[in-house]
Structure formats: structure tokens, C-alpha cells
Symmetry: C2
Subunit: 273 residues, 2 copies
């Protein structure tokens, strides 16, 4: 198929699922989102969110998602099940699983719901950063395939180069969007929440074995705020609180236009060092 | 039974489960941990962690726990199931459910595992606070029963009094321990992660309808650090990032002796205002 304006974006191809029956789907890993071992965790999380969004009984918008990376996902076909465990008047609780040949590789839970106007306040401050167009796009190495699907402009805490030493803090802040540009939606926002390279690389000054064990996302943005964001870069920042005995945490904040806090995200990461 | 030094602590009574068979238990809500509607969320989370810890196949120590409060829990009996979905060499993934009369009220996932010495660093700073014994114990109202099981000494952001107005930020910091004192373990640490009153009360200056929808805990402490903590007060601090359209998030840090970051915890809370 020739590439035209109407061609499917690689992200949509990667999270695509085929419905077998309500809440049961098949899908395949996409080579463009390959990581060192198995697919990029963000694309897996996005695929599991997509399984809920495709369900005929889905209620409202995503509020939270937790994904547990229980076992490596092999490149190839998989099955996803999404089950609405409980539907309340304004919220809905989901359990989700990704299996390969009947073996569970990934578990997840999600909360969806309707939102109404209430008192509101964004208490957290946005990090200071020059406008995206004033920050260089870092040409990414081919070390892992999936990074080629993101335009990353590091404001702070870029990937350590060959001569990097230990770094005193674990904060990275970057402008990031899908490459090619694609209007933001809940599914692509989910993947963006996992776009940060492991914080231990930055602290130690080099790559080391690391992988996300569990990831949680709180969606603060509603559909109107995502529409206002369109395909503009998101200001994404992440840091860790404690590293030790094979695990560290990571907290991330994703900011959109008009200082909108789109999502906050947390993960626990296995590492060896 | 007369109260003696060897009497069961009320916390242990509240999280107690009776094994039906491996991974299937019965329990009952404990009146001492009653909240406004149903039990204190922290005691429910602790009970679900306990279900994993009692399982004959459990591997290592708790690393993470996510609990989704799908429906109110009625006072009375319940059933808990804990299933080891995947056991790896050094980590184990669990799905957990609490049901009443066959209806799921609460879902959860947990990761347990073995930890080994690695490079380590606590990057987050501990909040400054006077020693616990220099901070007054706030006599808690009888508004909700469960607070009587905790000794709380607020350093910052105490519960708004009748004349409180809006507050510019949502941070509360307090010294807290079980009452009566009880040596800290993973189960009681789990409950402590949910010990904060809703952040919207502080910002708005008064109580309002609010309830946790989903709670995630990352356990940074190992068993040796918990043993060192014993029954000393924990310095607990919590704040929110964004409030709006019926939901706000909360991030909490729990600090032990020797500036040990015991746990970080995050939740999404429903509110009306």
C-alpha cells in the first residue's frame, strides 16, 4: 500500500486488535516497537488500554491503568482479554490480560468513568523549559527500534554518552511527540508515559540491565484537553526516589499546552548494577 | 479473653484470614477499622497483601501492590482469593480479589520477589520535621472509627477545623504509628500508606464526599529495615498534583528511622466539590 495521508499511522498499526468476541481479541507485536527483549512496554500498555476502549460496554474515559509485566512477550501473535468486573453509575473497573499460547505474560487493571465539572486546581508546577523548537532533536541510536517512533528533544538528563560518568540526580525532561506527528489520544498518551529510558542509566552514566515490572498511569486530561493538544510536543519529566536491591521507582509528569497536566505515571523497575 | 501482653493486636485481628484452601480465604470486616462507608481502605489493602503472604507458594517480599476499590464493602464476612499468575526465578506476579456473596468488590495485583544487594541511592529528601515527641498528638474526632487505631502527630496540614478556609497547598506531614504501638511489618506499612485524610478537605477547608478509587504502593524497605523501625513513628507526607472533574491524585512518601524511605504510594481519589 503506498504511503498516503490516509495511510495507517505506525502507532495505530501497533496497537491494533482484532475482535474475536466482546472482550477477547488477537493482536501481534509490531517490529517498529521492538525493545531489547520483546516489545516496548509503552506499546503493550497502550494495546491493553485499547482492548478496553474497543469493548462494547465501555463507560466513559480512562481514569487509571496499572500494567504488570509478568513475563517477556515473544515477538509474534498474542491474545488479549478485557473484562468489566464492576460497572457503577459513573465508573467502571476492568481486569485485562495478555496471553501467548495460553500463558499469561501481562496483567492489568483499569478504571474508566464519566467526569463532571467540579472545583479544580493544578497544584504541581510545570518544569521550566525552552520552547520545543529551540531544543535540538537528539538523533537516537538504533540500539532499540521503538525510539524511532518518537521525536525527543531533551531539555535535561539526556541519554548518557560513551564518556558520561555518574550523575547526581535522576531527572530527565524532554519534549516528545509521536514520529511522524499524530494527534494525541488516551492510547498514545499511555505509551508516552513509558517513554523514559531507565533512570539508573542516568545515575550510573551507562546502560545496564533494567526493565519495568509494574506501571501505573493516572489520566488527568479529558478528551477536550487531548483534542487541544493535537500533535504538539508534550513536556515529559521523570525522576526516581529510591534505588536499591534490584529495584527503583520512577515518577513521571506529562504536560500539554496551556500548562495542562495530562497524566501522572509511576513505575517500579528491576535493575542490576 | 482478658487483655494481656500476648493478646492479639487489633490490627492483626482486622487483617486475619481463615484459609479454605491454598489461595482462598474467608475474613470479616473489623468494627475498629470502620470508615464512613465500609472499612478503611488501608485495612482492606493490608488484608489483600496478607492473602498473598499466607499463600504456601509465596516468593520473597512484597515489591508492589495495586488495589482497586470497585464497589463498597459491606460490614460482615467476605472471601479473598489470591492467585500466583506467574512465578519467575526472582519475582512473582499475583492477582487478588475480595468478594461478598460472589460479587467482586475489590481487585488487586501484587508483585513479590527476592532482592539482592546492588548499587543503592535514596535520591528524595526527607521532609524536615521536629522529633515526634515534640509534636502534639491530635485527639481525633469520633467521626470515623479507624483513626482511633493510629497515633497521629501532624507537623503540617492537619485536619481542617470548623473555621478553616481554603488552603493554598495539599501537603500533610505527620508522625504516625499504630495505636497501641506495634512493630512495623509489610502488612501494617500497607495500611499506613492510606492513612491520609482526603487532600481535597485540606485545599477546600472542609469535609466533602471523597473515596479512593485505586491505590498503588511500592515497597522500598526490606525486612531488615522494617525490623530496625520496630514500633517507632513513621514520618508520612502526602500531596496532590491535580484536582478536577471528580478526581484528584495523591502521592505519599513514608520515612522510617535513619532517613529510610520505606515506601512510596500513589492513589486516585473520587471527590465532589
Amino acid at each position: 500500500m503506498p504511503e498516503t495521508e490516509n495511510a495507517t499511522h505506525v502507532f495505530d498499526a501497533a496497537v491494533d486488535l482484532t475482535t474475536i468476541d466482546a472482550g477477547r481479541y488477537t493482536g501481534s507485536t509490531h517490529p517498529a516497537y521492538a525493545n531489547m527483549v520483546g516489545p516496548f512496554g509503552g506499546i503493550t500498555a497502550a494495546t491493553l488500554l485499547n482492548a478496553v476502549r474497543l469493548h462494547p460496554e465501555v463507560l466513559g474515559q480512562p481514569l487509571s491503568l496499572t500494567v504488570n509485566f509478568a513475563a517477556p512477550i515473544e515477538y509474534g501473535d498474542f491474545e488479549v482479554t478485557a473484562h468489566p468486573v464492576r460497572t457503577n453509575r459513573s465508573s467502571q473497573h476492568w481486569t485485562i490480560e495478555l496471553t501467548q499460547d495460553g500463558v499469561v505474560t501481562t496483567t492489568a487493571t483499569a478504571v474508566f468513568g464519566k467526569r463532571r465539572e467540579t472545583w479544580s486546581s493544578t497544584e504541581l508546577g510545570r518544569p521550566t523549559a525552552p520552547p520545543a523548537h529551540d531544543v535540538d532533536v537528539r538523533p537516537m541510536s538504533d540500539f532499540v527500534k521503538w525510539v524511532g517512533n518518537y521525536e525527543m528533544r531533551f531539555v535535561d538528563g539526556g541519554i548518557p554518552g560513551p564518556d558520561a560518568g555518574p550523575h547526581p540526580d535522576s531527572t530527565s525532561t524532554l519534549w516528545v511527540r509521536d514520529e511522524p506527528a499524530r494527534p494525541l489520544d488516551f492510547t498514545s498518551l499511555t505509551a508516552l508515559c513509558d517513554v523514559f529510558y531507565p533512570r539508573a542509566f542516568l545515575r550510573r552514566g551507562h546502560a545496564l540491565p533494567a526493565g519495568t515490572v509494574t506501571l501505573t498511569i493516572y489520566f488527568h486530561a479529558d478528551a477536550a484537553e487531548l483534542a487541544a493538544q493535537s500533535d504538539l510536543p508534550v513536556l515529559a519529566t521523570a525522576r526516581s526516589n529510591r534505588f536499591g536491591q534490584n529495584y527503583f521507582d520512577q515518577t513521571a509528569h506529562l504536560w500539554g499546552v496551556d500548562d495542562t497536566l495530562l497524566a501522572t505515571s509511576h513505575q517500579l523497575v528491576y535493575f542490576k548494577a
